[in-house]
């Protein structure tokens, strides 16, 4: 086992311990409002106001395109970037 592998194993073990402890320390899956220190203030605001503010019945879409529309622009840009990158990589090198 080389030195690099040894470092890698240690790194991996540390990450593993942290992640599993983190998983155990998280609030329980499927929490109930008001319990376990769980309070979905932001999401409740969206659920209660999305229809009146944006007119979309699909709350997720209203988040994607209205409340967090700027993220969606970024996301579309990421795809645009990837297309440009792939075409750039596979371009012809000679004119």
């Amino acid at each position: 086992m080389s030195r690099r592998d040894f470092v890698a194993v240690i790194f991996f073990a540390v990450v593993a311990v942290f992640l599993i402890f983190g998983a155990l320390k998280m609030h329980p899956f499927g929490p109930v409002e008001g319990q376990d220190g769980f309070d979905a203030e932001m999401d409740d605001h969206i659920i209660n106001n999305a229809q009146e503010e944006t007119g979309a019945s699909n709350t997720v879409t209203s988040v994607v395109f209205d409340y967090r529309g700027f993220d969606t622009l970024g996301e579309a840009t990421v795809l645009f970037t990837a297309v440009a990158g792939v075409i750039l990589v596979f371009r012809r090198l000679k004119k």
Partner: protein
């Protein structure tokens, strides 16, 4: 404890991915590892959005609209993250195609180690 099983699954998925990235030498396997980590993170995001006895946050012809709804923001975030993952995957695979064309190998030691000029 039993309520944390989805989070443990997330941890397991991320760890498998990380293991693949760190210890495997094949470029394609490294990419698979990254997508595994990404699925782990996406799964984590989507599990955060669930609350007990909730339905999808969509006001369609659902008879009982007053039911608890799951959180919409994590779903939107997951959507964004999935698209970003696709973009990264496409770019990584095209790099691999080029690397294979140039070095005629997929072994990471021969590609990154060799400093040709």
């Amino acid at each position: 404890m039993i309520y944390n099983i989805p989070f443990i699954a997330v941890a397991a998925l991320i760890l498998i991915g990380l293991y693949t990235v760190i210890f495997k030498r094949n470029l394609i396997k490294i990419v698979i590892g990254i997508t595994l980590i990404e699925s782990g993170v996406n799964l984590f995001l989507i599990t955060l959005g669930f609350r007990k006895d909730s339905v999808a946050p969509i006001f369609t012809s659902n008879p009982d609209v007053s039911q608890t709804m799951s959180l919409p923001v994590p779903q939107a975030l997951t959507l964004t993250s999935i698209v970003i993952g696709v973009a990264v995957l496409a770019l990584m695979l095209s790099f691999i195609v080029y690397i294979y064309r140039h070095y005629k190998t997929l072994d990471v030691r021969k590609v990154v180690g060799g400093d040709d000029e």
